[in-house]
Amino acid sequence: MVKKNKNSEVISSLTNRVQELENAHKRVLADYQNQERRHREQESAIIKMASASLLEKLLSDIDALKMAQNHLKDKGLQMVIDKISDTLRGEGLQQIETDGKQFDPLTMDCTEVVSGKKDVVVETVSVGYYLFDKVLRAAKVKVGSGT
């Protein structure tokens, strides 16, 4: 009698253990499958966005060139800037339209409020860019205060 009791105890503890392990196993499998799915999804995105960090760094250098051009107004320099812009466009970079547009925090970063039509971009301080369908860098803009 005593022995039997002990046996059933062992069996129930083992059953619990099996169940626990089964759950753990399922969980790991689920994690793995999710990981696989995400990997597939990310793969193409990663390839597409691989140049993002380099492009982002280049953008600040292009800003500097544009600032120089604002001052120098040199035809040759303008050609250089246009050429670089063309190249970047080929890599999937697209300028965010800002001037005269309604301010949109999804694509623009307001750095200053100035007099002008309310919530409308008065001046673009630095151009923003999409890389394919993602905002690579928000445009920095001055926005009208309505006065």
Partner: protein
């Protein structure tokens, strides 16, 4: 059960993490970053970076640092201090609690925090691809009951069932894996974007007890940034007489540059700030170029860092502990990346602080681990081992051919087909090796066995499948099977992963040390094997169809092969001498073969199609790997 996410609901930045595959992982935000600003614009429902971008335009409607108001009375010191710096309106609400008035609407701090948590939830759902309803949220150790209650309510408003509110230092200790250790006392030094906290924890049997906490609720990375900006502005003024602080656009650029410089100076000892065309003077453009050394930065923020020491002293004395009783100091918060901060902490506690976990992510990771413990994810997670060194077998010329590469997570198994090295070879020896060196003799032998009874066949024809199977306990089973006869042999090697750290380290170092020498040796063997193959194949062709070449050509080739063979067997042959002979022979063989084909194709042009088909089947038979098993 759905996943329980861990949320670090911070004063300036928040982060989310989850347990996956037995480890805590940060969930990237929709914007692709690991943390997001704890900033909310409730009218339009903007949270994070998006809310931050419209802050200047919409400052009275944009709420930041809402954590400072959680569960606080309006009349309290914390609320009043926050009121001073906040452009949004803080007022007195029900039961004297602090509330926020925006565009005629009233928001409790819980509702605003809920917006942050909602973003965390949405990002997690997008990442996991499943609904998320359960969360663990962290709070500072000094939060009282009403503050904790408020945080829990925020979670509920966001549609999250808050499984537990965890102290931030406890979460950090979990992320550092300190729960597995012995009973000890640790210090958590957390210097974030806007607040500084120091906590002393006592760990034992998986229980974390906060012994004391202290800090400065208005000290953080933002103060450091401001110092750097002021320095740049004043230096520029000294140089040019122009005050950039009056120019909002210039100031914005300096702000970005200052933060970048601060971060760079954590790894470099000097950085250059370079902002061309920053402003104009008398119609001429002015450029900002300035070098800042790490020493200079340290000088500028010296008193800020020093301010963190007093709270450390107080925390120690409150816990009635001596510095010597502290077993470990762990660093949390982005500012602790600064070497000077680490130095000051080290000097004060007299011990090197532990900085092995990303300080921006530690709290969220710890919260996720806590979530994993609750859901049972952590309890039974098998800690999977990796194979510390490469496992492989010896192949022709004494080369080590790897089957299971170093750092492969076990259990794992891999098969590869090998073949014989000479004609009519009746048996192969499978010599199992462990190590990183390309030559078999330089690696450790784990065992070997012989598979015999291979039917007589030309070299390269028999297919011998060698399988390595290593289980979770590091037991390696190697088998070799002749695919033609089905005959199989195997060996079991225990403790294939069980090497001491020192052994592994030595083997890795040796591999590095002898890398060049080893490569030369291996190249020589490869060349010998290549020459061997040419000799055997050409002789076979000569034997089968030698007469077609003509006696002179056959003789010429045989002589060239003899010479090559002599060089292959010459112990002191070099890579160059072998290569020279091999090239000569190859060219000669090719020349004659070409002539033969040309003659043949001219003779039977109409049959050309049939011939190419025949050739295709011929190449098919050569599926076995080149690296044959040694005799």
């Amino acid at each position: 059960m759905s996943k329980i996410i861990g949320i670090d609901l911070g004063t300036t930045n928040s982060a989310v993490a989850v347990m996956e595959g037995g480890v805590a992982k940060i969930i990237p935000t929709a914007e692709g970053r690991n943390t997001f600003p704890s900033i909310v614009e409730p009218i339009k429902g903007l949270v994070g970076d998006v809310a931050k971008r419209q802050m200047v335009l919409n400052s009275t409607n944009t709420i930041f640092s809402v954590k400072r108001l959680m569960g606080q009375k309006f009349s309290g010191k914390q609320s009043q201090q926050t009121k001073e710096i906040a452009p949004f309106e803080i007022a007195e609400g029900k039961d004297g609690m602090a509330i926020i008035n925006i565009a005629g609407k009233t928001y409790t701090p819980q509702e605003i925090s809920a917006k942050i948590l909602q973003k965390a939830k949405a990002d997690a759902e997008a990442y996991l691809g499943q609904p998320v309803t359960e969360a663990v949220i962290t709070v500072p150790a000094y939060f009282d009951d009403s503050q904790r209650q408020a945080t829990k309510q925020a979670g509920e408003i966001a549609g999250l069932n808050v499984q537990r509110i965890v102290n931030e230092p406890t979460a950090a200790a979990l992320a550092y894996g300190l729960d597995k250790g012995k009973n000890e006392t640790v210090v958590v030094y957390d210097l974030g974007g806007g607040t500084f906290d120091v906590s002393i924890l006592e760990l034992g049997d998986g229980v974390f007890e906060v012994k004391s906490t202290n800090g400065d609720t208005f000290l953080g990375g933002d103060d450091f940034d401001r110092r750097v900006i002021n320095h740049i502005v004043s230096e520029f003024k000294k140089e040019t007489g122009v005050d950039l602080s009056l120019d909002k656009q210039a100031l914005q650029r300096i702000k970005d540059a200052a933060e970048k410089a601060k971060i760079e100076l954590s790894s470099a000892t000097e950085t250059e700030i370079n902002q061309p065309f920053i402003t104009q003077k008398d119609g001429q453009p002015l450029h900002l170029t300035m070098k800042i050394s790490r020493a200079k930065l340290e000088e500028i923020v010296d008193d800020l860092i020093a301010k963190t020491i007093e709270p450390c002293k107080k925390a120690l004395s409150d816990a009635k502990l001596e510095k010597s009783q502290i077993a470990e100091i762990i660093l949390v918060g982005g500012m602790t990346r600064m070497p000077k901060v680490q130095q000051v902490v080290k000097d004060f506690f007299g011990k090197e602080p532990n900085k092995s976990v990303n300080p921006d992510e530690a709290v969220a990771l710890g919260a996720a681990i806590q979530g994993g413990v609750i859901s049972g994810d952590v309890k039974d997670i098998l800690l999977l081992d990796v194979s510390p060194l490469t496992l492989g077998i010896e192949t022709m010329g004494g080369v080590m051919t790897p089957l299971i590469e170093r750092n492969t997570t076990v259990p794992s198994s891999k098969s590869q087909i090998f073949s014989t090295a000479s004609d009519n070879q009746p048996q192969v020896e499978v010599h199992i090796l462990q190590g990183e060196r390309p030559m078999a003799s330089d690696n450790k032998t784990l065992g070997s066995f012989v598979l015999d009874g291979i039917p007589a066949a030309p070299r390269g024809i028999p297919q011998i499948e060698v399988t390595f199977d290593i289980d979770a306990n590091g037991i390696l089973n190697v088998s070799a099977k002749d695919k033609a006869t089905g005959k199989e042999q195997n060996i079991t090697i225990k403790n294939a992963t069980n090497l001491s750290d020192a052994e592994v380290e030595k083997m890795k170092q040796d591999a590095q040390k002898y890398a060049e020498e080893d490569k030369k040796k291996k190249d020589l063997v490869d060349k010998r094997n290549e020459a061997d193959t040419l000799i055997i194949q050409t002789r076979k062709v000569l034997k089968d169809a030698g007469d077609k070449f003509g006696a002179d050509a056959a003789k010429e080739m045989e002589e060239s092969l003899n010479e090559l063979e002599k060089e292959v067997k010459n112990e002191s042959a070099t890579l160059e001498s072998l290569d020279e002979k091999l090239k000569a022979s190859t060219e000669l063989v090719q020349k004659h073969a070409e002539a033969l084909y040309k003659a043949a194709s001219e003779k039977d042009k109409p049959e050309a199609d049939a011939k190419s088909e025949g050739e295709a089947t011929k190449t098919d038979t050569k599926t076995a790997e080149e690296g044959e098993v040694v005799e």
